[in-house]
């Protein structure tokens, strides 16, 4: 028996992803690396953009006319005030007060999809099909990530298995804190134009904390007060204005 886990203060570590939209070319490397790392199966035969299991989805945000498009990679925004956690009827989503990671626990999930309705960033996938790999491909699966069943919701957990491994490594070396270089999500490692950077925003001297305060940084749907820990950056004020807006003025 213990008391509430809910805390109002910000977590000790605030793992944060910063996406530099100037750099993103929408090549799909982040999502591919994510699928490889997190044992996401190939698309089912009839899967579509809307029924696929994609943790890291790149959207094209077109400008008016022939102006340049911005490609926006959107993983789970790891909100500090997540709209999903409280809607889950059986606590299959948990906000870790030590890391700020919003964890989805697929084995606890009954597949009601209420969290998907609650999330304005559409970053969750429901497993509409039984995950299947061709026999030979199974050997290439990542042993550090468990495979989810059909009928549950899954999403980006910030490659938490890499945090686990980093912690174990620190423990083995007798250290209390992890080496930040040991905890880098797969998408960040894969991005060819280095559009993604990752780190602990609670580390005031860190690069991510600096970027978070940068006026070029903004959050998606900031008006909703969800407090995402995925930040976006653009040197173009018009892009910032366009993408930080809440709601669509015209469909």
């Amino acid at each position: 028996m213990h008391t509430s886990k809910h805390t109002t203060s910000l977590p000790a570590h605030r793992y944060t992803l910063v996406v530099d939209l100037d750099r993103c070319t929408g090549c799909g490397a982040c999502g591919t690396a994510c699928a490889v790392e997190n044992n996401i199966p190939p698309a089912a035969e009839k899967a579509t953009e809307r029924t696929g299991t994609v943790w890291m989805r790149v959207h094209e945000a077109a400008a008016a006319g022939d102006g340049p498009s911005t490609f926006v990679p959107i993983p789970c925004q790891q909100c500090d005030n997540p709209p999903c956690v409280d809607v889950c009827p059986q606590r299959a989503i948990e906000y870790d007060p030590r890391t700020g990671i919003v964890a989805q626990i697929p084995v606890r999930c009954l597949g009601c999809r209420y969290c998907m309705v609650a999330c304005p960033y559409h970053t969750r996938s429901f497993n509409w099909w039984t995950p299947e790999w061709p026999e030979g491909m199974k050997a290439t699966l990542n042993p550090d990530v468990s495979i989810r069943t059909r009928g549950v919701v899954e999403k980006c957990n910030f490659c938490v298995q890499r945090l686990q491994a980093a912690r174990a490594k620190a423990s083995a070396a007798g250290q209390a804190e992890i080496d930040p270089a040991d905890y880098v999500p797969a998408c960040v490692e894969a991005c060819p134009s280095r559009a993604l950077s990752f780190g602990d925003a609670a580390d005031e001297k860190g690069e991510v904390a600096r970027l978070a305060k940068d006026p070029e940084s903004f959050r998606l749907l900031a008006g909703l007060g969800t407090g995402p820990k995925v930040l976006y950056r653009s040197s173009d004020p018009a892009v910032r204005e366009r993408l930080s807006r809440t709601g669509v003025t015209r469909g």
Partner: protein, 631 residues
């Protein structure tokens, strides 16, 4: 005494049984176990095949030759990361490379020789495959109308040497795919140089304006993500140092969508547009006069030609507003270094005239030796006294002349269209492919003799022809090939011997020796993230060790040669005029929607259906044809 059992007793006993079960472990133990059962995944996560280790290699799937950092459990790679600082890719990696470890077990993978007849695939043994090869080789020697031709996608390997020897021995042809895309436009420019053979690369870091005529410079051309990264980095520097990309293209693909300016143009009118820019540059005296004076010939003729392309005419031809043409020319002149590239490897080559116009534009902007640096080739072993055929182009294959076509596993359909090859085939020709896949050109073969899949063989990879420096990346094998796999080198030698052809001995380690002998460049050790000069590498063994660690050689800067570029070649003007004044052509069909698939010889991993099927980004680009072209 008679025992009377009533219904009441039955109820009581039933109640007792229920109570008994409730007080036994049955309900809660069952609940617990069943709940675990409902949480079992359909596919168990594999147990690690060994301890975790990181190994380095390079991706052989496309010419970019990116560095790969493989996360392996035991011998099994389970994922890749890019290698920042890698001389060939500098952290570049694309979805194809990220899934390269799936390919060895691709559902289209073939592990045994297969003969295709009448649409049916029939597995044959190695001896039968060798016999078929040797019979075909022998037949080619006998019948001069049935030539032997071999197409090699990655020249310079040890296997390439065997191909060339075989071609020489049978009087056949050794064909290498033509340069494509930006490399082709660079080649066209280099051919205008009168100071000897010249190779030019592209150094985006030295450019401030990049004009692309259809080349997907921001997405699929060259090193993944390179230009996008450089451009983004420049955006946070002073305005005068910013890189901008101008995409001139009929369709708004991803690269066009990303460009700072996208200029939709009627398809096939690139030459007119380029001459329009040249017109403004010369007319307003914005061209690089010093470069033109020192390094070019034929300025007057060219000026006379371009003078005909006033922006108003260009607008009429291309659908691009006259103001846009003028403004772009001024912008390029004001923001030199600027460079112009053309051509998309997935959409077929541009016409020679268009390449000529692009080359002239580069000269007017003074791009060569700056943003388009001189580069050398990676050292190769010499032919020695071995009889080896020289590389020829596809055009050397007359229609209906090839009796035995051998396709190396590295030939992608995007490099050599099957329709072109098919035209060259004689009746009943034998088409042999060493592709490990029943896909791409491997699917066209009448005899498929599968070789090693990607990551199954150690291979040396020359970097792309349009990189600023030559690189040679070493790609040690991460996977072991299936046990009874017939290696192309072995099977070819067996067949040649059976056909009575004598081939020179394989030159093992010749490339390393050549590299060491050249004493040029540096070697990057990805595990240590450090460079070592070739001159400091003590021995071939030390070099071999570096190779096994996935090292990458990078060339030093090449000195500027003496000579001049021809703005117009003899007799070129009328053809250029004709092309530039001609009508728009049809929109070229795009070969693939997924990045780099067209230039890769391997089919994409099934996992890439995540991109093609489950995201909206990689469907065919929407046509954005200007009004003039539609009319």
């Amino acid at each position: 005494m008679k025992l009377e059992l009533s219904r009441r007793d039955l109820f009581l006993a039933g109640g007792g049984a229920v109570a008994g079960i409730a007080l036994s472990p049955v309900p809660w133990k069952l609940l617990d176990d069943l709940s675990i059962w409902t949480q079992q995944p359909p596919t168990p996560t594999p147990r690690p095949a060994g301890p975790l280790a990181f190994r380095f290699t390079s991706c052989a799937l496309c010419p970019a030759s990116c560095g790969l950092k493989a996360r392996c459990f035991g011998a099994q790679p389970v994922g890749f990361a890019a290698v920042p600082g890698h001389p060939a890719s500098d952290g570049g990696l694309c979805p194809l490379g990220l899934t390269a470890h799936h390919l060895a077990k691709h559902p289209l993978r073939a592990n045994h020789p297969e003969r295709v007849s009448g649409g049916k695939r029939e597995r044959i043994d190695r001896a039968a495959a060798t016999a078929a090869l040797s019979a075909a080789l022998a037949a080619c020697g006998r019948d001069p109308k049935r030539t032997f031709a071999v197409v090699d996608g990655r020249p310079g390997r040890s296997l390439s040497r065997t191909y060339r020897a075989l071609a020489a021995a049978t009087g056949g042809l050794y064909v290498t795919p033509p340069a494509a895309g930006a490399a082709l436009s660079l080649e066209a420019l280099a051919k205008r140089f009168d100071g000897g053979a010249l190779a030019l690369g592209v150094d985006f870091s030295k450019a401030r304006r990049v004009v692309s005529f259809g080349t997907p410079v921001l997405t699929d051309a060259g090193t993944p993500g390179l230009l996008a990264r450089l451009r983004a980095e420049s955006r946070r520097r002073p305005a005068a140092e910013r890189i901008e990309v101008i995409q001139v293209e009929a369709t708004r693909g991803r690269s066009a969508a990303l460009a700072d300016r996208y200029i939709p143009i009627a398809p096939g009118t690139e030459a007119a547009f380029a001459l329009g820019l040249a017109h403004v540059l010369l007319d307003e005296k914005l061209a690089d006069a010093a470069f033109l004076e020192a390094r070019t010939t034929g300025l007057a003729d060219f000026a006379a030609l371009s003078a005909r392309f006033a922006p108003a005419l260009v607008e009429q031809k291309t659908g691009v507003g006259a103001g846009v043409v003028t403004a772009l020319a001024r912008d390029l002149a004001a923001n030199r270094p600027a460079l112009v590239l053309g051509g998309d490897p997935t959409a077929g080559p541009l016409s020679g005239e268009t390449e000529a116009a692009i080359a002239a534009l580069n000269l007017l902007l003074g791009a060569p030796f700056g943003a388009l640096p001189v580069r050398s080739e990676a050292p190769r072993e010499t032919d020695g006294d071995a009889k080896l055929a020289a590389a020829t182009s596809l055009d050397a294959l007359p229609d209906g002349s090839v009796g035995f076509l051998l396709l190396d596993a590295t030939v992608a359909e995007g490099m050599v269209p099957w329709a072109r090859l098919e035209r060259a085939l004689a009746a009943d020709a034998l088409v042999v492919s060493f592709s490990p896949f029943r896909a791409g050109l491997g699917e066209k073969a009448t005899l498929l003799i599968p070789g090693p899949a990607p990551l199954e063989e150690s291979i040396e990879l020359e970097g792309p022809a349009d990189a600023p420096f030559a690189t040679l990346a070493f790609a040690p094998a991460l996977l072991s090939p299936p046990k009874d796999l017939a290696l192309p080198e072995e099977i070819l030698r067996e067949a040649a011997e059976a056909a009575g052809l004598s081939l020179p001995a394989p030159a093992a380690g010749a490339r390393s020796a050549a590299l060491l002998a050249a004493r040029r460049g540096r070697l990057y050790d990805p595990a240590a993230a450090s460079f070592v000069a070739v001159g400091d590498v003590a021995s071939p063994d030390a070099l071999g060790e570096l190779f096994a660690r996935g090292a990458c050689w990078v060339d030093d800067a090449t000195p500027e040669p003496k000579g001049r570029f021809a703005l117009l070649k003899d007799g070129e003007a009328p053809r250029l005029l004709e092309t530039a004044l001609g009508a728009p052509t049809a929109l070229p069909a795009s070969l693939a929607s997924l990045p780099r698939v067209a230039v890769s010889a391997a089919p994409p991993s099934l996992l890439l259906t995540k991109l093609t099927r489950e995201t909206a980004l990689f469907s065919a680009p929407a046509a954005a044809i200007p009004t003039a072209a539609r009319a």
